[in-house]
């Protein structure tokens, strides 16, 4: 990496070199590998394949652009982006498009749709980084409290959509930033204890359909043709794949439509079915490698903002990966979250790649 860094110090920088010098090859390799996993499953449906390729293309354009922008610019713009994201969430609550009973989408002129909560995936880590950057580390109690407010504000708006899953995941990512910021371990322990104590309260606050999802997790056979269907079919797909899988394109659970959402939220079940334990393990290893590389970049970053922003982006990314796979394996209730960079649909790929653009920017602009 040092070479990259040294070269970027050179006086003459061609346009061509700018484009490529702000990439981190290792991270890029990891991302491409992950994306490839998705493509291998999605290729059999041409429309889906084209749609995904399009999104990946746009995502990489965003990545390239985001990587060119130096961290200080992000630092300057973060409050505005965050405030804008909050505003969009507010607008969504009133003007959003209702799909399956929840308002998550904003429709732009021309029929384009996007989820403001996707934007918050980037904005929350950036905002926390921005805030703690100004406050100094380790954070004092009131700084932590303020930081939690920055997480809570969008989370509440997203819960109202309602999209509890996304809200929880963003919160988890945000809390990761707080942990990285250096909050004392004993506070963390206290928070965990508090959360455990509050769990019954959370149960009371949950809506009936949400409780059903939790109940279903523990006893999917209670309603195998209804609520339990997804989780039963998903576990069946994964389990029947065995060690080496049924072979590409041989997954009967997905090919014969027993597995719902096989292109989107449950895509890892297809990987498990067709590529087996070996395939999923490989995917997990690549994800861990991406996480490791990202966290390494964070440790190498100069400045609190850059470190926390990158760390937060990476943790948010990881939380999505973990929760999605845990859901497919029947360890978590069914929350509608995509598997990062693999699932088809939505704007997730684009916002994620944009996020990685920021990560790369941080890494290649350490001399700012």
């Amino acid at each position: 990496m040092a070479t990259t860094y040294v070269r970027s110090l050179g006086a003459r920088t061609t346009r061509r070199r700018i484009y490529f010098e702000h990439f981190d090859p290792l991270l890029l390799l990891g991302l491409l590998t992950v994306i490839l996993f998705g493509m291998v499953i999605l290729y059999r449906d041409q429309d889906v394949m084209i749609g995904q390729a399009l999104r990946v293309g746009v995502g990489f354009v965003m990545l390239v652009l985001a990587a060119q922008v130096p961290p200080r610019v992000y630092l300057r713009w973060t409050p505005w982006v965050y405030a804008g994201g909050l505003a969009l969430l507010l607008v969504t609550l009133f003007l959003g498009v209702t799909v399956n009973g929840s308002r998550r989408w904003l429709e732009l002129p021309g029929g384009l749709r996007f989820q403001p909560s996707e934007l918050m995936k980037l904005a929350i880590p950036l905002m926390l980084g921005w805030y703690f950057h100004r406050r100094g580390l380790p954070p004092r109690f009131r700084d932590v409290a303020a930081g939690l407010l920055f997480i809570a504000a969008p989370a509440v708006l997203i819960v109202r959509q309602p999209d509890l899953g996304t809200a929880l995941l963003l919160t988890a990512g945000g809390l990761g930033v707080v942990v990285l910021a250096g909050i004392r371990w004993r506070w963390i322990l206290a928070a965990v204890g508090l959360a455990a104590a509050a769990a019954p309260g959370l149960w009371m606050a949950m809506r009936e359909y949400q409780r059903d999802r939790v109940r279903t997790l523990f006893d999917p056979e209670h309603d195998p043709m209804g609520a339990g269907w997804n989780i039963i079919q998903s576990k069946t797909a994964v389990g029947s794949g065995g060690v080496f899988g049924k072979g590409l394109d041989q997954g009967t659970q997905s090919r014969l439509d027993f597995l719902p959402e096989s292109h989107t939220d449950f895509i890892v079940a297809v990987i498990g079915e067709e590529l087996g334990l070996v395939g999923v393990t490989l995917l997990i290893v690549v994800y861990l490698a991406v996480l490791a590389r990202g966290l390494y970049i964070a440790t190498q970053a100069s400045g609190t903002f850059a470190r926390l922003a990158v760390g937060g982006l990476m943790l948010t990314f990881f939380v999505y990966v973990f929760v999605n796979i845990a859901m497919v394996c029947g360890l978590f209730p069914v929350v509608g979250v995509p598997l990062p960079l693999v699932s088809f649909g939505g704007t997730s790929v684009i916002s994620l790649l944009a996020g990685f653009g920021i990560v790369m920017s941080v890494h290649t602009h350490r001399n700012w």
Binding site: V238, G239, D257, L288, L295, T299, L331
Partner: protein, 628 residues
């Protein structure tokens, strides 16, 4: 504060962050290890059960119902065929609002309430995604209407299946029986494996008795389906084994002749081949069209059939129980000979009246009418038969006693089912002392013997039983148990021919021949003057038959006629009139067909039933004579 120029990020704060990042990564690693452990659990430890589960999802076993074996008559004529019929089937899994769709379909094809009920009953028994028939036997235009509109309802389809068809319709209804659609009751009774996917089961007659032979073996198909139940491919297949064909002794030609001879009257005709016991004719009139029942009969039509006073659904030939009347006399005669209480020479004077010693009650001859009580004059056994003298047999039965008579008659199969393969045949009643005590709670009186002597009282027979009696006499006491089956393709597993029955004991060959001669006189003895002609001669014996026929008429009372009252046919309701019987066989020397004819409420056996018997024997013998 962070130092923006700490380019390596290795300040105090940076180091703290690095530690944190490392801890966080280790936590993430641990979480991923949990996931991996879970994956190992699913994909390695529990692999087998999920593999099975996944196969259960996609692989379904579909039953391939076998084609039912065909039924032929002895000339090779088809009695039961399989014909493709189209039905309106529904895959209920693919339909949200079933009632709504059924209602909409009702606008395209006729669907009765009962069919909807049956439909729901079948739904309860079907396998997932198995199409369930809502209406069967669709007409061509109904098929077209459904096809045009079918796209509106995924899950509604036109199915084609083989359905039993009886080409001869009502002619063979009672002889061959029929299949019915498997209902709830059947489903519980039948072997689930052998009948998977099978929609019809034999319910009556040959179809019922030879169900196991005709049914065949269900085949199996493993098919791969998707979550919507669509079939993707056939994985493997064990073809169904077609049921074995069955050839019967029945003769459609003779059957038709018998039915025509009955000429619409209620009654039954049974004809047996004396050599084999093969049932050549089994008519119960009126019949019904069994095809109506195969796929479910309209309820109003069924009500009409079931409640008709003519009882078309009732198989008189094997289930109708009637007093045999004078057709019993030949058996009484043989019993008397066997018991040694009479011989062919002994005579009595028949004045048309009989009294038990010391009793007042008068038993009369059949020829008795008020103002004319002549009787048959001097009567020996032969004349007692061809003139059907009641008085002779009153006397004979009384002197012989019930024990000798009842046990002798039992040798002819009275009171039991001797047929081998006639479904639902009933045994009738052969009274005896023990029987009377058990069933009437009373002892046997001499008056009972008097009545029994002329085949009245508690003695009850079916037309099949009387045909059997005629056959045993035709065989001079030798037995062949009546049977329908002539042959079936291949072996006949478990087909029980029954214990061979011994020749009727106690009767000499000369007695047999004399009896046959006496019975031939019933038909052929004519132009002999007042009360000297055979009872049936005037009705069937006056022209040249071309063969010698032996017979015996019988007339069975339906209502009790009070002492001293006249039986006035005109005054009686049609359904209270006497039943007419005639049993016969021919050629008398070496019989090839034995017949019993019953005409319900027909009146005189000789005048009404005998011509039917002759028509059947003519149909049987005349074509052969012509070909000689």
């Amino acid at each position: 504060m962070a130092d923006p120029f700490d380019i390596h990020g290795l300040g105090t704060e940076g180091r703290a962050f690095t530690v944190r990042a490392l801890v966080v990564f280790l936590v993430a690693l641990a979480m991923m290890l949990v996931l991996l452990a879970r994956l190992v659990q699913l994909q390695v430890v529990e692999y087998d059960s999920y593999r099975i589960r996944s196969d259960d999802n996609r692989i379904q076993v579909r039953a391939l119902p076998p084609d039912r074996g065909l039924i032929f008559d002895q000339r090779g004529g088809l009695l039961a065929d399989n014909r493709p019929a189209r039905s309106l089937n529904v895959v209920t899994e693919l339909i949200d609002d079933l009632d709504g769709v059924v209602e909409e379909l009702g606008a395209l094809v006729d669907i009765s309430e009962r069919q909807i009920e049956d439909f729901h009953e079948r739904i309860a028994r079907r396998r997932p995604f198995e199409p369930v028939a809502l209406r069967m036997n669709l007409a061509e235009e109904e098929v077209a209407r459904v096809r045009v509109n079918g796209h509106r309802w995924p899950g509604v389809e036109i199915g084609e299946e083989n359905v039993r068809y009886y080409p001869l319709g009502d002619l063979m209804a009672h002889a061959v029986g029929s299949v019915r659609r498997v209902n709830q009751e059947d489903a519980q009774r039948l072997d689930k494996r052998r009948y998977r996917g099978v929609k019809f089961v034999g319910r009556l007659g040959v179809e019922k008795f030879y169900e196991d032979v005709l049914h065949g073996d269900v085949g199996w198909q493993h098919i791969e389906i998707d979550a919507r139940g669509r079939i993707h491919r056939i994985l493997d297949e064990t073809p169904a084994v077609v049921g074995r064909d069955v050839t019967l002794h029945l003769d459609s030609f003779l059957q038709g002749a018998a039915r025509d001879a009955l000429d619409g009257r209620r009654g039954a005709v049974v004809a047996l081949d004396p050599k084999s016991g093969g049932i050549r004719v089994l008519v119960s009139n009126p019949g019904y069209d069994p095809n109506l029942f195969v796929t479910g009969i309209r309820s109003d039509l069924y009500q009409e059939l079931a409640s008709s006073r003519d009882a078309p659904l009732f198989n008189r030939a094997v289930q109708g129980r009637y007093a045999p009347g004078s057709t019993f006399k030949p058996v009484v005669a043989l019993a008397g000979l066997a018991a040694g209480v009479t011989d062919w020479e002994r005579t009595i004077v028949d004045r048309g009246e009989f009294r038990l010693p010391g009793r007042k009650r008068v038993y009369r001859d059949w020829s008795w009418t008020q103002g004319n009580a002549g009787g048959q004059g001097i009567v020996n056994l032969r004349k007692a038969i061809y003139r059907s003298s009641n008085v002779y047999f009153y006397d004979l039965a009384t002197r012989m006693g019930v024990d000798a008579l009842s046990s002798f008659a039992a040798q002819f199969g009275y009171g039991e089912v001797t047929s081998v393969d006639v479904a639902d045949a009933v045994p009738g009643v052969l009274p005896s002392r023990a029987w009377k005590m058990e069933n009437r709670g009373d002892r046997w009186y001499d008056g009972d013997s008097v009545n029994l002597g002329i085949g009245q009282g508690d003695l009850l027979v079916t037309p099949l039983q009387l045909a059997t009696v005629a056959m045993v006499i035709a065989n001079r006491g030798h037995w062949a148990r009546p049977r329908l089956l002539r042959e079936s393709g291949g072996a006949q597993p478990g087909f029980d021919l029954g214990e061979p029955r011994p020749r009727v004991a106690g009767v000499t060959d000369a007695d047999w021949e004399a009896l046959v001669d006496a019975m031939a006189d019933v038909v052929h003895r004519g132009n002999q003057g007042f009360r000297e002609n055979g009872t049936a001669w005037f009705h069937i014996g006056r022209d040249d038959l071309g063969y010698r026929m032996a017979g015996k008429s019988g007339t069975a009372q339906v209502v009790e006629i009070a002492q001293g009252e006249e039986y006035d046919e005109e005054a009686l309701d049609e359904y209270s009139r006497k039943h007419a019987w005639f049993i016969a066989f021919a050629p008398a020397e070496d019989p090839t067909l034995a017949v019993s004819v019953l005409v319900e409420n027909g009146g005189g056996g000789s005048s009404v039933a005998a011509p039917v018997a002759r028509a059947v024997l003519d149909a049987h013998l005349r074509p052969r004579l012509a070909s000689l």
